[in-house]
Structures are given as structure tokens and as C-alpha cells.
């Protein structure tokens, strides 16, 4: 009951956020975004032709009306048609989001999982060589550009200069085997890049936690290092860990996959968004922007509920 009330209240306060995000993005898009008209009218158009296309695109309406239309589209979940292909926006998203999720999730999960494990390990050995080694490796991992990492993995694993084990580009997935084949190299690249940042973050959280009084108490009662770290300390670290993981979700799903998808030629939502930005395909952009905002609100709600779940002191009010 408490949970339901809280969720409703949280969703209600999320509405202004969604409105704010969509309004700002919409204004930026209208005033600074590319104009689709001239792409569609062809060479040497007459004034009537231009006016006709603009009317078709809805550009002739006042901005306020266009924004309200946008909101109505969101509420009715009728997101319109792509200006470029004429395909339904909802159909495009339904096709591309699962692909993006399938590409991004393994790297996201493994990057955080290994980050926490390495962080625990380094925190346990803090100040001595395993810690120093991991931290140095993390610093190196953080210093290499994502692009270099992607290209290096592609050359090493997917080209005839290297092992040539995996396809370089594309997404031709019909079975688990195909999936593994196409997802491995992007995943390795993502994990490689994320691991340094994650490990450093998680290590500092865990080291901080090891100085707490309850850790000394547990040791004074003979608690071995294993359960001490994996149970007592880890559960106390869950709030910063959950925060970091949850709040990176909207970016991983929508924008984080942009580089990966364009370099690996994967037809995911990142690629679609990128193309929409370049060509000024406003219906798609509007949908993606709104989706990101809604996802952020949902993630916040879910994060708060998870806090409650790991820390009994958190009250949902």
C-alpha cells in the first residue's frame, strides 16, 4: 500500500520532468534542427510545392500547436510516421529497441559485475600490490579512447590481420549461436571501456565502507573475510552501486549504444536516432526524447524502491 501510494506520487512528480525535457528538446529541434523540407521537395521546387511539403510535415503550424500535438501523440501513444521512410515510428522502435538491448545488456551487466568483483578484491588488498595492479590497469583502461578500443578489437578479433573469428559488422541473428557471434566483440569493447571507471568507483565505495564501526565489530566476533566482504560490506554498499547502475540505464539503452551500433553496423535504436538527427526526422527524435525522459522517471522510481529493499532505514515518503 505504502509502495503503491509512493509510486503514484513519484509518477505524478515525474510528469513535469517529462514535460520539461520534451519542451526544451522540441524547441531546440524546431529552431536549430535541420529542415526536412528541401530534402523532400526535389530540385527547383515552386513556392506551392514547398508550402505543400511544409504543410504535410506540419511545419506550417504555430510552435505551440505543434508542441501540444506532440504531447497528444505521447499520451495516445500514436507517435506518427517517420518523415524519411514513412514507416510507423512505434514499429521502428519496436524493431530496434530489442536489438539495442540485446547488444548493450551483456556488456553492461558484465562491466558492472566485474567492476564490483574487482572493486571488492582491490579493496581487500588495498595498499598492497594486487590493489595497485588493478588500479593501474583501471587507469590505463580509462585513458584509452572508446574508438581506439572498438577498432583494436575489430582488427584483433574480426579481421584477417587478427584472429578473424567474428563478423565485423551487421546483425544477422536467427539463433543463440548467431547472437553470441555478433555480440561478443561489441561486448568486449564495452566491458573494456567501462571496467576501469566501474572498478575505481566501486573500490572507493567499498574501501570507504570498510572503515565503518560495524566492520570492526564483525571482525571482533570472528567473522572471516569472505562473508565480511561479500555479505556484510557489499550489502551496505548497495545504495551507491544501485544508483550508479540504474541511472546509467537510460543512456546505455538509447545513446550509449550509438558508437557501438554505428561502428558495428547494428540496426539498433542508437543508429536510428543518429540517422534521425542527421536527416532531421522529427517524429523519430520526438519519440526517442520522450522515451528517454519516461525511462528516467521509471528508473528513479525503481531505484527508490530498490533502496528500500536493501536498506531498512530508507522510508518511502
Amino acid at each position: 500500500m505504502e509502495l503503491l501510494q509512493y509510486s503514484l506520487r513519484k509518477i505524478a512528480t515525474g510528469i513535469p520532468l517529462v514535460i520539461g525535457v520534451t519542451l526544451i528538446s522540441f524547441l531546440l529541434m524546431v529552431y536549430f534542427g535541420p529542415d526536412k523540407t528541401y530534402e523532400l521537395v526535389g530540385k527547383n521546387p515552386t513556392a506551392e510545392q514547398i508550402a505543400e511539403v511544409r504543410a504535410e510535415l506540419g511545419y506550417d503550424q504555430p510552435v505551440a500547436v505543434r508542441y501540444l500535438d506532440y504531447l497528444r501523440e505521447l499520451v495516445t501513444l500514436d507517435l506518427g510516421f517517420s518523415d524519411s521512410t514513412g514507416e510507423r515510428v512505434s514499429a521502428i522502435l519496436a524493431r530496434t529497441i530489442p536489438i539495442s538491448a540485446a547488444v548493450a545488456l551483456p556488456g553492461f551487466i558484465l562491466g558492472n559485475l566485474f567492476g564490483v568483483l574487482l572493486g571488492l578484491f582491490a579493496a581487500f588488498y588495498r595498499g598492497v600490490w594486487p590493489d595497485k595492479f588493478i588500479m593501474a590497469a583501471a587507469a590505463i583502461g580509462m585513458s584509452i579512447s572508446f574508438l581506439i578500443v572498438i577498432i583494436a578489437f575489430q582488427i584483433l578479433l574480426s579481421s584477417s590481420y587478427g584472429l578473424n573469428l567474428f563478423p565485423v559488422r551487421g546483425w544477422d541473428v536467427h539463433s543463440i549461436g548467431d547472437y553470441v557471434l555478433y555480440v561478443t566483440v561489441p561486448t568486449l569493447a564495452t566491458v573494456f571501456v567501462a571496467l576501469g571507471y566501474n572498478t575505481r568507483f566501486y573500490r572507493s565505495v567499498i574501501v570507504e565502507e570498510t572503515t565503518r564501526d560495524y566492520v570492526r565489530t564483525a571482525r571482533a566476533f570472528g567473522m572471516p573475510a569472505g562473508p565480511l566482504y561479500y555479505k556484510l560490506i557489499l550489502k551496505n554498499c548497495m545504495i551507491p552501486i544501485i544508483t550508479r547502475i540504474m541511472f546509467s540505464i537510460p543512456f546505455v539503452v538509447i545513446s550509449g549504444s550509438l558508437l557501438i551500433e554505428s561502428y558495428f553496423g547494428i540496426p539498433g535504436v542508437g543508429k536510428v536516432t543518429y540517422d534521425a538527427i542527421v536527416t532531421g526526422d522529427q517524429p523519430i527524435l520526438k519519440a526517442v526524447v520522450a522515451l528517454t525522459a519516461v525511462l528516467l522517471v521509471a528508473v528513479q522510481l525503481l531505484t527508490d524502491i530498490m533502496y528500500r529493499w536493501v536498506d531498512p532505514r530508507v522510508a518511502l515518503k
Binding site: Y214, R216, A220, F221, P224, K235
Partner: protein
């Protein structure tokens, strides 16, 4: 006389700091007999807590280390004992409770989980058996409705109750020695008295020895049979409690006792204080560490370090107050 339960000899604990090596405990020797309560008294930073921690091998390492001496307990030297064996001893043979009842318990686990964990570390019990014992133990330390309380989290309990939970955890495996580090400092006076009374009662019941580490002479007077006064990493005086309060011999002990406000006496103009300040552990004088603040100081005091001459009633002083 019976054999001592714990025999500490020349214990020295050092810490590496930015400015150099600090010897927080320097050549401390004492005996603890079974079933007695001994106070370890001194002001902040005198090494009393570090002494307590070193008995369980809990000196944070690095930057700390036991630099010398021995801690004999149950036929072995705890300084030489491996970490794995120390873990067996902690919580089962020697227990320790801490000052901060607010933070010393794990905030995200229930009282029950924490107690069951400790019990099952040291005793071959099923989860259900351990739970029953934990509830039993909570009732023992005076927690009302223990079967319900055990489901609660530390933040749902009052400070006094949390300290009682700590005590219940500490005693659950039947230790022979309890090191209580300022167990009542963070509590209000009424709760303090109740918790101390509880410790005293349980001590008789469980037949264990207690080392009460505190800066509060009142607490020592109420609960201990014997007390050791620490100053600057050394024990300066040890005596049975009546003797210590009636006839203190070391000038530092005298100073401490004089600076306690008394209700029955006429109020002096100002509360007497010990002049000067505690020397920096990095720059200790060659002689007695109290010499610079001492009213009874001799030339010898500035050159040589006085040693504690006996174990049961002695003062480390060249010019003690005559007995």
C-alpha cells in the same frame, strides 16, 4: 593464588604516521585473573583502546603493528597466533564490545541475522537452534519481548538497547574474557547505570573476566575490583579499587581524582586541573612522561623512566605519595 587468565608482558604497539613511528602502547604488562573485573583507565589517546584491541589482534594493520611483548591466554601467545586461529578465539574465548552503539551494529541486517551469524561461526548449530539461543540471550540481557525485537534493525532500537544487543552478541558464545571499550560512554546516565549493572550481573552468571576500558573513574569505582591507570602508553599505577581511590600513589592518579567534582564537599573556587598537557607521542621526554606536569618531580624523573614495580599494587614513580 589462582593462575592468571591473561598474562600481558611488555606489550608494545606502534603506528606508522606521516610524521614518524608512534608507539601508542609502550611496555605494558598486566595480569587478569578469572572472573575479575579490571578497569583500564586513562584519558583519550593514552593507549587504552589500542591495548584492548591488541588483545584480540584487531590492531589495524597497516598502519599499526604489535612491536613486541607477549599476550598469554589459554596456554598460547596471542601475538604469535595466526590470523585464522585468532578468528576462532574472537567472539568465542575473548569478546569485545565497543563504544559506539549507534554504529557498531550493521545497519542493514536484523539483530537476529547478526546474532545468528556470530553463534554459527563458533558453535555447530542449525539456523533455528541459533535463533532460539539468540532470543534466549536477548532476554538475558534485559531486552523486553526478545522474540519480536530480534526481527528489528539496529535503528529501531534505543542506544541502551543496542548496547544490550552488543553485550548479548558478545556473551552468546560464552567468552572467558570480555573487553568492554567505553561501553557506556555514549549513553545517558540512567541507561549507563543499567547497562553497567547488567554487565556486572552477567559477569557473575557467565563467570568471565571483564576488562573495562574507560575514561570515567566513576564507572570504574562502581564496577571494578581493581584498576590500572594508563598515561601516554604506559601503565602508571595499578591497585585494588578501594586503595586506588583512598590512597592514590602516582601523582597522575592523584591529579585525576582531584579533578573530579564532588557533591558533598564545599565547592572550591575552581575545579583543580592537572597543569600542562599530554606530551606528543612523537616527541617523548627521556624520563618519566608525566615529569613536566608533576608536582612531586625529582631530577631523576627527567632522566630515567620509572618502571611499574609490582603487578597487584604498584606505582611507576620515583617519588610516590607514601602509602
Amino acid at each position: 593464588m589462582t593462575e592468571p587468565l591473561l598474562r600481558v608482558r611488555d606489550l608494545a604497539v606502534e603506528f606508522d604516521t606521516e610524521q614518524g613511528v608512534v608507539r601508542a602502547v609502550d611496555g605494558v604488562s598486566f595480569d587478569i585473573y578469572p572472573e575479575e573485573t579490571v578497569g583500564l583507565v586513562g584519558e583519550s589517546g593514552c593507549g587504552k583502546t589500542v591495548t584492548g584491541l591488541s588483545l584480540l589482534g584487531l590492531i589495524p594493520q597497516p598502519p599499526g603493528r604489535i612491536a613486541g611483548g607477549s599476550i598469554e591466554f589459554g596456554g598460547r601467545d596471542l601475538v604469535q597466533t595466526s590470523e585464522d586461529e585468532m578468528r576462532e578465539i574472537r567472539g568465542s574465548d575473548i569478546s569485545m564490545i565497543f563504544q559506539e552503539p549507534m554504529t557498531a551494529l550493521n545497519p542493514v541486517f536484523t539483530i537476529g541475522t547478526q546474532m545468528v551469524d556470530v553463534l554459527r561461526l563458533h558453535k555447530p548449530l542449525s539456523a533455528a537452534q541459533a535463533r532460539r539461543e539468540a532470543i534466549d540471550m536477548l532476554g538475558h540481557v534485559g531486552i523486553p519481548a526478545p522474540a519480536r525485537r530480534i526481527e528489528e534493525y539496529p535503528h529501531q532500537l534505543s542506544g541502551g538497547q543496542r548496547q544490550r544487543v552488543m553485550i548479548a552478541m558478545a556473551l552468546s558464545c560464552g567468552p572467558k574474557l570480555l573487553v568492554a571499550d567505553e561501553p557506556t560512554t555514549a549513553l545517558d546516565v540512567t541507561t549507563q547505570a543499567q547497562v553497567l549493572e547488567q554487565i556486572n550481573k552477567l559477569q557473575e552468571e557467565f563467570r568471565m573476566a571483564v576488562i573495562l576500558v574507560t575514561h570515567d573513574l566513576g564507572v570504574v569505582a562502581e564496577t571494578c575490583r581493581r584498576a590500572m591507570v594508563m598515561y601516554c602508553g604506559k601503565i602508571v599505577e595499578t591497585a585494588p579499587i578501594e586503595e586506588l581511590f583512598a590512597r592514590p600513589r602516582h601523582p597522575y592518579t592523584m591529579g585525576l581524582l582531584n579533578s573530579i567534582p564532588r557533591i558533598h564537599e564545599q565547592r572550591p573556587e575552581r575545579l583543580p586541573v592537572i597543569p600542562g598537557r599530554v606530551p606528543d607521542l612523537l616527541h617523548l621526554p627521556p624520563g618519566c612522561r608525566f615529569a613536566a606536569r608533576c608536582e612531586r618531580v625529582l631530577d631523576r624523573c627527567r632522566a630515567e623512566q620509572p618502571e611499574l614495580s609490582g603487578r597487584d599494587s604498584a606505582a611507576a614513580c620515583f617519588n610516590p605519595e607514601p602509602a
